[in-house]
């Protein structure tokens, strides 16, 4: 039943799957994941919103309908009009222009927070699932202790040396969300870290860092992806909150939080003024959460596979069928 050493061109066919370049493999996986996100309803909506958001942010860097500093004391709190599609704010500046410019700031904040949280969280995960018991134990306790520090308190402390700045938002949120990420992704990472495939890779001479990158992190990816995209969404809300408290984005720098802060005091008089920035933030946060859900489904190995559905039973060269009889 077992074939001799004849090879039916398998060296050619199996080539890329077996030992193809790592970069090509990563690019292929990223493309497949993106496609899988796109092919889900929620994922498609999220990608469209994020695409529009990115485009607007890029455009705002070179063009806005009105200059940001074009204030007009005679035309404050204007209702939407052909000249100002979303009206004007308390200084008579164009609301649409400020929201467009805010899109760039908030996109940067979302990406930076996700990046900081990813790096910091990954370091913590690596420590928590380490095979050195002392390091893992310390990391678990440290995360539990640090996670109890409120993000706002952290931002207020950071604002003492840094003043109100984007850096405060990014550092405070990145730090806090990295801790969250580590705690939430730990079970998945631990499951992979203690699995037989990691054990046999280690027995075959793989390094701790090697199995972390090749096995543990990819298998924690569904959890990490959800948590990071939700963190990016929460960062937008945190930006608005911290800006309102005066420790976030400094005044004069356009951001959605800034637009909310300047209008929220007049909500009883001019409710429409809060509506637009509030709506934009909400849509962005919902899109990021939807992206998270779609990413979780798309990075699940059950969905990544390109193999035929489980029911398609095909006899192979040895006369063997799928259900192993």
């Amino acid at each position: 039943m077992i074939g001799t050493s004849k090879r039916r061109g398998s060296a050619v066919r199996g080539g890329p799957a077996v030992c193809g370049g790592r970069a090509a493999r990563a690019a292929g996986a990223a493309g497949r994941t993106l496609y899988a996100v796109w092919s889900r309803g929620g994922g498609r909506a999220a990608l469209i919103v994020i695409g529009v958001w990115t485009a607007v942010a890029l455009v705002s860097l070179v063009w806005t309908p009105w200059p940001l500093l074009a204030t007009d004391g005679y035309h404050t709190w204007q209702a939407p009009s052909p000249a100002h599609p979303l009206g004007t704010d308390g200084t008579g500046a164009d609301v649409l222009s400020w929201l467009m410019a805010g899109a760039a700031t908030d996109l940067a904040i979302a990406l930076l927070v996700a990046l900081v949280a990813a790096v910091w969280g990954t370091l913590l995960i690596a420590a928590m699932v380490s095979r050195h018991g002392a390091l893992a134990g310390t990391a678990v306790v440290a995360v539990d202790a640090l996670i109890s520090i409120p993000t706002v308190l952290l931002a207020l402390i950071l604002a003492v040396p840094l003043g109100a700045s984007v850096a405060v938002v990014v550092c405070a949120c990145g730090f806090a969300y990295g801790l969250n990420l580590a705690r939430i992704a730990r079970p998945a990472a631990l499951l992979a870290a203690r699995s037989a495939y990691v054990e046999s890779a280690l027995a075959n001479g793989a390094s701790g860092m090697g199995v972390l990158i090749r096995h543990i992190l990819p298998n924690s990816l569904p959890v990490i992806a959800v948590q990071l995209s939700m963190s990016a969404g929460t960062a937008l809300l945190a930006e608005a909150g911290l800006t309102y408290l005066g420790v976030g984005v400094p005044s004069g720098v356009p951001s959605w939080g800034h637009s909310l802060t300047t209008s929220v005091r007049f909500v009883t008089v001019y409710p429409a003024a809060v509506l637009w920035p509030g709506l934009v933030v909400t849509v962005a946060v919902v899109a990021l959460n939807l992206l998270g859900d779609a990413l979780r489904d798309a990075t699940d190995p059950a969905a990544v596979g390109s193999a035929p559905p489980a029911d398609a039973v095909e006899p192979d060269g040895t006369g063997e069928v799928r259900d192993g009889r």
Partner: protein
């Protein structure tokens, strides 16, 4: 070729008594501390010779898996010594490095031993890639077909009875338990190990598929007469066709050891007799 011919043909031709490859003396291992400490192995001696198949048999709780992990260098004994080709197997010692390089592992849960995100081809190639990355020069095999990684992966899959054309690009989800276990076996043997440890490789597999796994092991032993195989099982029926020697473990002690035919015909202890009874129809 049928299962029976394949299985039946091997043992006598390959039991050429090689030198002792791996040897354990006075192995003691316990878990927990203080009053909660439970000793699992109480001074176990055991030898594995080149080219033989040693079956470690015992019920659950007999310590057979713990012993195997210690033999394979995955766990350290509290007392006693393991030597591989005369070198002590300890942390940061050449003995452990050599054993790591020369051993293949097969675990009980077939799907658990394959990364769910990797194709079969990539999983089977991993030991070769790791050796290449670590620049390990094996004294056989590596030099012979040095660059032909894909070819070796395909050959290993063929040896365990899986067609590379069909299986290379599959992912574990699309394999049955028996197929996944044979992939795990291919992965264990792809780098030409001198010794393969298989911990209950068939207990999570349904009976019909067990025969194919037996076939796979038999084919490997036929193809590599110098390779030692340590197989752990609770079921004498499963190992009867493969094993040359048997080591019966009961509550952390070796109660019986000897050639399989001799143990099956003249069991010395009541425990061994109950194992034989359990495996008879």
């Amino acid at each position: 070729m049928t299962a029976r011919e394949q299985v039946g043909g091997t043992p006598s031709t390959t039991s050429a008594d090689g030198g002792v490859l791996l040897s354990a003396r006075g192995i003691v291992r316990g878990f927990g501390r203080g009053r909660g400490r439970a000793e699992v192995l109480h001074g176990v001696d055991c030898d594995v010779r080149a080219g033989e198949c040693l079956a470690i048999i015992g019920g659950s709780g007999s310590g057979k898996s713990t012993l195997t992990r210690i033999l394979a260098g995955l766990d350290a004994a509290d007392a006693g010594e393991v030597t591989y080709r005369g070198m002590p197997v300890r942390r940061r010692q050449p003995g452990l490095r050599a054993l790591r390089r020369d051993c293949g592992l097969v675990f009980q849960d077939p799907h658990g031993s394959l990364d769910p995100r990797w194709t079969v081809g990539r999983s089977v190639a991993e030991p070769l890639e790791l050796r290449r990355r670590n620049r390990v020069e094996g004294d056989d095999g590596d030099a012979r077909d040095g660059g032909d990684l894909t070819g070796r992966v395909a050959h290993a899959l063929q040896t365990v009875g899986l067609d590379p054309d069909v299986f290379l690009t599959r992912i574990p989800r699309d394999l049955s338990g028996g197929q996944a276990q044979r992939v795990a076996i291919a992965r264990a043997i792809v780098a030409n190990p001198r010794i393969v440890f298989a911990d209950e490789p068939m207990s999570a597999i349904d009976t019909a598929a067990r025969l194919r796994i037996l076939d796979a092991f038999a084919a490997i032993r036929a193809a590599r007469p110098e390779m030692a195989l340590v197989m752990v099982s609770h079921d004498l029926g499963v190992v009867q066709h493969l094993a040359d020697r048997i080591l019966v473990l009961q509550e952390g002690r070796v109660t019986e050891t000897g050639a399989i035919a001799q143990v099956l015909r003249h069991p010395q202890t009541a425990y061994t007799r109950s194992l034989i009874d359990a495996a008879s129809l």
